[in-house]
Symmetry: C2
Subunit: 366 residues, 2 copies
């Protein structure tokens, strides 16, 4: 028995690189760009960018904010770094310093760019094809001058329903993208698809794909078995094992009551580590004992630092044993489903918490 | 008009200190300890500990993990820092180095302590009175030797339903705490209440209260108007304003469809900044224009970097204007309610994201 207190986050860089390379293969001749925004979905943008640069020869990266691009620039000196949120007064100096490429999504951003051009940089233009988020609408495009159109090096858009094969929106957005690109930017390279779009067929690939979620192990083609490897593992130690007498309550607001005598384990992880509170009374953790997997239901509310789970039927469990919260057999997607959300939101929360002991596994983990 | 791209997190240290002092007052003769675990609920444990130490003369602090205690030790050299998760093999060196006080919650942790005592440190003991989380049960207490009992300097427990005045659990836990304390630790100072318990009356105060959530502005007595000041403000700029034609969809999976022509604004914040995805189609943001407050409903899914909102009825809105997501008029508790959770989970997520421009306001903000 070993007394432990801290949760552990393992990030398998080999699996990450393998996922990226599998996606590269599917992407054919299209350039495979890596999306490392939001601190590489919380996994550490510097580490992720470095390993993709070195091992997968990735030379095109996307971040959301300039401050993120600046952070990875040192490690990928000659790569193209695109910034999805565009350039503004609050990020101009980061663009200049780190030689970042703005993605320009509106006529206001274009006007700002024309006042603050960065020598040697040619922006991307983001056009709207149906997501109705950021991007030039056709009306705005029709107002661009010929000189305006020459500002850009890449035309891009983004799918709303790329994770749903056969969804009418995909064909609609594809048609719109081709129409707008041919009408306004016939000579520019194009990029429509993120991870999910790469699985929709060659027609969606164009000249560049932007690979994020699938590289991190999320199933962006949920209409079939996940083709990607799981990348992260989350574990936390059992702090205490104790009896829960029939009739007793568990956790804040006493939302669980035992209808029989039970055995419970208190695990050292909670929503303060990114485990969603919506798993209260519905989530589960796993114990791997003697090569057998045991499931333990979460009882009561998930609190900031702890969760309580039902281990009545698990023999030989000891204080210090590790509960698995995310693993190959219970992935980000699984937790997302049980928590009423998606794996993207789960991964984006977890990696930002400094209480984890963080291990990078794989060839570049030193 | 100003082109901006980054969300802003403002933390009002004056309000934080005022809240702490108001709670100190309610706490009477009980020592007011500050809970700065989980990086002070994401607001920055070093900054929060420093301001409470200097301006409120706070000398007792609680963290969850030793790694958190070690981080704040440098700034509060002579304060008592208690570690709620206890001491283990993975945290022993942090305890020794930063002279942290373990809260011991199980016989296994006590055994570990007895093997690794730190000179000059006397642990707290955490006893279970009804929450059924970490802590010694009566059965375990009855097995302690007289020498064991002398190890401790403080006896504590934690309420399950302290935010519900008149809940039967409160009286039950109070009775249990008094009974166990009198039976096993009659001479030790006691601590039962966190923020919520301090509002339940003098009988709940004992010798120390542990002030967290209420200090950060959360209403821990939701059966009445919040007595605390709001501490954090979250704002994000409008990146684009555009028309949404009748029949068009918004966002991933096309979950919103316009039943009339609308005007939408795209805001530069998303779940990658800690704004819960469960606000999709139900949350709202606010614009303060010409001293008038306008509410704008979130349309479609919250995505990682952006949200889209309905600004059809808001005149004079411009690109670069700031949407308010958390403010005095729409607090952490309000967002928690709309997102199907509690303010605690909201605050714990937001502050951990480095994409925010973070401003500390108040006397100690330099």
């Amino acid at each position: 028995m070993s007394i432990l207190t801290r949760p552990i986050l393992e990030i398998n860089l080999d699996s990450l690189v393998e996922n990226f390379q599998a996606l590269q293969k599917i992407s054919g001749k299209a350039t495979a760009a890596a999306v490392v925004k939001d601190d590489a979905y919380g996994l550490g943008a510097v580490k992720v960018a470095e390993v993709l640069y070195k091992r997968a020869k990735c030379r095109h990266f996307f971040v959301a904010h300039a401050v993120e691009g600046k952070e990875v620039r040192a490690i990928i000196p000659d790569a193209q770094i695109y910034v999805l949120q565009g350039m503004g007064r609050d990020s101009l100096s980061d663009f200049e310093e780190a030689r970042l490429i703005p993605v320009i999504s509106s006529k206001e951003q274009l006007a700002y760019w024309k006042e603050h051009r960065i020598p040697g940089i040619k922006p991307a233009i983001n056009i709207e094809t149906g997501l109705n988020r950021l991007g030039f609408r056709e009306f705005d495009l029709s107002e661009l001058s010929e000189d305006d159109k020459k500002e850009f090096s890449l035309v891009m858009s983004h799918l709303a329903c790329g994770d749903a094969q056969g969804h009418f929106m995909n064909q609609h957005q594809l048609d719109m993208f081709i129409f707008l690109k041919e009408t306004y930017f016939p000579k520019l390279p194009g990029s429509l698809s993120a991870s999910d779009g790469t699985f929709l067929g060659e027609g969606y690939l164009f000249d560049m794909v932007r690979l994020g979620a699938a590289m991190y192990g999320i199933n962006t083609a949920p209409y079939r078995q996940n083709q990607m490897k799981n990348v992260i593992t989350v574990k936390a130690p059992v702090l205490q094992i104790t009896d829960l007498p029939k009739g007793d309550f568990v956790g804040y607001s006493a939302t669980y009551r035992a209808n029989a005598n039970r055995k419970i384990a208190i695990i050292s992880i909670g929503y303060g580590d990114g485990i969603p509170r919506s798993l209260s009374n519905v989530g589960k953790v796993f114990f791997n004992l003697c090569d057998k997997l045991h499931e333990a239901r979460i009882l009561g509310r998930v609190s900031m630092d702890n969760i309580v789970c039902d281990v009545t039927d698990i023999k030989n469990l000891q204080v210090g044993d590790m509960a698995h919260l995310i693993a190959d057999f219970y992935t980000l997607d699984d937790m997302g489903r049980d928590a009423g959300t998606i794996g993207y939101e789960i991964i984006s929360r977890i990696g930002k918490n400094n209480r984890f002991i963080r291990h990078y596994l794989g060839d570049d983990s030193q």
